[in-house]
Amino acid sequence: MPTGSSRSRLLLLGVNHKTAGVEVRECLALGGAPRPPLEIFAGLPACEEVLFLSTCNRVEVLAASPDPKAAAAAIREVWCTVGGGDPGTLDRSLYVHLDEAAVRHLFRVAASLDSMVVGEPQILGQLKEAYRKAAEAKTLGLVLNRLLNRAFSVAKRIRTQTRIASQAVSISYAAVELARKIFGDLSDKRALLIGAGEMAELAARHLLANGVRGLVVANRTLARAADLARELGGEAVGLDELEAALEGADIVISSTGAPGLVIQEEMVRRVMRRRRQRPLFFIDIAVPRDVDPAVNEVDNVYLYDIDDLKGVVEGNKAEREREARKAERMLDLEVLKFQAWLESLDVVPLIRRLQDKGEAIRRRELERSRSALGELTPKQAAALDRLTTSIVQKLLHDPIVTLRRSAGAEEGRELLDAAYRFFNLNGAEPAPDAGGARGKEAAPAGPKGPEGRPRRG
């Protein structure tokens, strides 16, 4: 059945960390291509609008194309020839989404629901960067522009209205989150690092990055402590000075390789009296543990060992999963809205053709009747013009309103097709009883390009 719509369709194809290994992703990123990948894809004849997204976890091409099949084949071809990807591997790892599925996928990517760590914020920045590049290269048109902007606002809404990104999902983040809930502001707090292991160093760096003011490194071998202290901008002490160091510290990260306990409850009780009960937060990431678990019973002392922190992280991940499901529901609605907007675009060319046709008929019929009417005064001519225009407009008014209203609705598509046929707007030969040769003249010359959607370039 002929439809008057020649709207270009949305196509998204690519790979991510779940479908392809890093070597495949590297190939598709077209790092070694002679021209920028965006330029290559934009040059494909089947692609009207293009966006190219390449991050360490995903490579995707988003395109608007009147012939998505041909566009997909061309993009795939580029990946095989320019990127040197193996066609078999590519077929196994490539996902291809059309129209609504493409919109949904893009929204999920933007909202970080498709990320390795759900809720991580980087992907939105990367997508915005890809958008900026495409906008600069003028490879975007009405559809992708609108789609990307919707994606950004959907992502923002999901971020503010759900808690997919509000919890720490790594040990270091969890430690900082806890420290903040104990101390509030960290900028006047001091950290003590006991032992010089890699993980403890990471946690210490993280605390420093979050504003902790001072750092003391305590280690069995003082030289190693001094090295690390220099690197992190702190001071070094020996393990024998531990009790004094505890007095001045607020956050203690312990990760020695010692077989027994390094910090006993009694020691902490003594220290707490001298500290006048200022809170003390122990992060014990050593296995076997360095800090006596009974320390947690002391007032204003908080002890988290590696299992506790893992528990926090797991709990947070579970919470994120729940929030992600909420986000998906919000997203469903947004996909529907965008789809409706996209479909409403079909109505625009139809309405314009309908108006053009009405106007053409009016002019021609007016011309034909002019001789029968004889000489008209300018006033009469103007009145006649108004009369005929008004008849055409009033006749077309209701169909146009109905079409506008149904744009994007379920019955809209059928109505659109029906309208093209009723008014014979496809440029086909009209029925013989419609006025013979006159009907042929009345139809506008062939379908125009989709109005309202400027081509790139």
């Binding site: 919890q167 104990i182 509030g184």
Partner: protein, 276 residues
Amino acid sequence: MALRVLFQSALGLYLVATAAFLVHIVTLRKWAERWGTGLLAVGFAVHAAAIGVRWRVAGHPPVTNLHEALSFVGWAVVGAYLLVQWRQRVKALGAFVTPLAAVLMVASSLQPAAVPDLPPALRSYWLPVHATICLLGDAVFALAFCLAVMYLLQERQIKHKRLGGIFRRLPSLDVLDALNYRCLTLGFPLLTVGIVTGSIWAEQAWGSYWSWDPKETWSLITWLLYAALLHQRLTVGWRGRRAAIMTILGFGALFFTFLGVSVLLPGLHSYANWFE
């Protein structure tokens, strides 16, 4: 009539604000918090007008019967909360304070609201000084009580390593403890001045500074509890959980002094006795 309308409006606004703060703490929707604060501020202004009108009608501060006292404390609690929010935002506090204010107002609305005639002994310029200072002190300690409850909830979550929704919604232990301390340093002088002025007034009215009337006795107990807390804070460095528990105990004594004694035990301060 105008008085009743003002009072009922304030009560209504507090109730809606309470609902908004509860919605906020459950859903974390920002609009709920904004609406809650806005409604509470309007309620506070309306309530102030109600108290002002009543003051004018009665010719003395409206703190002389249970209806008035409850209403005045409710108003002061809301004022203290708005002050804290203005100076230092503690978002979750609204969900703890507004229910308390709402309960005070509802309790007040259940009491006879007629403007009382003062017995001659109470017609003194010490009335506004003594009663308002005492009630303002009560309001500040009520705020401290809310902060202490929040502290214990948050501390429990962190100590027991069960970081549920409350953990994310409540502020840090440090903020809660610091605010609690500030309330103590403000409330304690008010309580002290309240007791001293009451004592001077008692001397003028009844010829004795201290007569061990139940309210006086309980005020002293309350004062001693808060004094002990302040002392321990300053000398030993008490803070956190112990300070929070002590704050709650102190508020318990204060509450009994304010309400229990007035209603249950006969004495010079017993509201019930004045107007029989």
